[in-house]
């Protein structure tokens, strides 16, 4: 299909349509229209300006109302709130002080316990001293017996240890020493009797 055919078809369809209708166009009517448009625009602008002014005025009034002093019930309510806040603050402070005091006491108690722990047990100390004394006595007795050959003094010292500290381990040592001394004395006496017997026998 050529361009000319399309053109022809479109023109025929256009011709079949209703002719356009429009009113007379004159300079007078155009001026009226322009004036009407100007009037509408001015009216719209003035309306917008008026609305803006009214809104601004209302806003200003509202702001003033908001800034005016509050009514008595509002003040009472505020005072109540302030009192409540103050009471809450006091209670919180008291609680903090109590917690601090408790902490201080706990620290003091801990230091006392540490000090007490550092003190040695008296019973243990006594036992230690008893053990030490018994040891010294046994030691002296050993010295008397082995180095000075004072058997009787040594035996007396061992017996003293046994008497004074019968439950101590050094008392056992002393008993053992005494038994050794006795066995030695018996041996010595056996050897002396044998010397006294005749050679023939």
């Amino acid at each position: 299909m050529s361009e000319e055919q399309i053109r022809t078809l479109l023109q025929r369809a256009d011709a079949a349509a209703d002719a356009p209708a429009f009113g007379p166009v004159s300079t007078g009517r155009i001026r009226q229209r322009i004036h009407r448009r100007w009037f509408m625009r001015s009216a719209a602008l003035m309306t917008v300006a008026a609305v803006t002014t009214v809104a601004a005025t209302l806003w200003t009034i509202c702001m003033r109302v908001e800034k005016s002093p509050p009514e008595p019930p509002a003040i009472a309510s505020l005072e109540t709130q302030i009192e409540q806040l103050r009471a809450q603050t006091d209670a919180t402070l008291r609680l903090v002080q109590e917690v601090l005091e408790k902490d201080r006491q706990e620290r003091h108690l801990a230091s006392l316990e540490a000090e007490l722990a550092s003190i040695p047990d008296p019973k243990f100390e006594i036992e230690r001293q008893v053990d030490k004394t018994a040891f010294i006595l046994v030691y002296q007795a050993d010295k008397l017996y082995k180095e000075l050959s004072q058997t009787e003094s040594a035996v007396a010292a061992y017996k003293e240890v046994i008497q004074l500290f019968p439950e101590n381990r050094w008392a056992d040592v002393a008993r053992e020493r005494l038994s050794q001394i006795e066995r030695r004395q018996i041996n010595n006496s056996d050897k002396g009797e044998a010397k006294c017997k005749p050679q023939s026998a």
Partner: protein
């Protein structure tokens, strides 16, 4: 020569209007109102009543005619205003409250040209006009200006502010769409 004389006469009318002679504007209206109305009618989908658009076009022309520099023909300048007003009018169509139908109907030159051709049946013509209206705006405008207003592609490009190549491309695409929409109708009727 006739065209040159016409241009010179248009320039003289514009100059007279600039000097404050309102009758010069009346003469311009008398000379171009039918074409403007026909173009508006076609661009708006053949509604018949195009009074508002025509009035708007000439109000705009009245306001801006003093700034018309004569770089194009007055007719082209008025068509440019018409195209723009029709675009705005289509957007505002739903909001338009008042429709006036006046008795004194003027017939366009385009109708005179087709008066001797055999009449097309109503259904077919409605279908063809509907197909033109269904085209996207940029295609519809070039089709109306080129095929119904009879403007040259260069003039259409100048009017729409596009290049001649773009006019041809749009015309080809518009033809393709019309063929798609009208189917065999174009073949039969041609």
């Amino acid at each position: 020569m006739a065209a040159m004389a016409k241009i010179t006469e248009e320039q003289a009318l514009v100059e007279r209007f600039r000097r404050g002679d309102d009758s010069a504007f009346d003469r311009i209206v008398e000379r171009h109102s039918a074409e403007v109305a026909a173009l508006a009618n076609r661009l708006l989908g053949w509604p018949g009543d195009v009074d508002d658009v025509v009035q708007d076009v000439f109000v705009a022309a009245f306001v801006h005619l003093k700034k018309f520099r004569g770089e194009c023909r007055l007719r082209t300048w008025l068509f440019t205003i018409t195209v723009n007003k029709c675009r705005s009018h289509r957007l505002r169509r739903r909001r338009r409250l008042r429709v006036r139908r006046l008795d004194d109907v003027e017939v366009t030159a385009g109708h005179d040209q087709t008066a001797e051709r055999p009449a097309m049946d109503e259904e077919t013509s409605v279908r063809i006009r509907g197909a033109v209206q269904a085209l996207p705006r940029k295609y519809r405008e070039v089709v109306v200006l080129r095929y119904l207003q009879g403007l040259e592609p260069g003039e259409v490009g100048e009017l729409l502010g596009i290049r001649v190549n773009a006019v041809q491309v749009r015309l080809n695409r518009a033809k393709k769409r019309l063929k798609e929409q009208l189917g065999n109708l174009l073949e039969e009727k041609s």
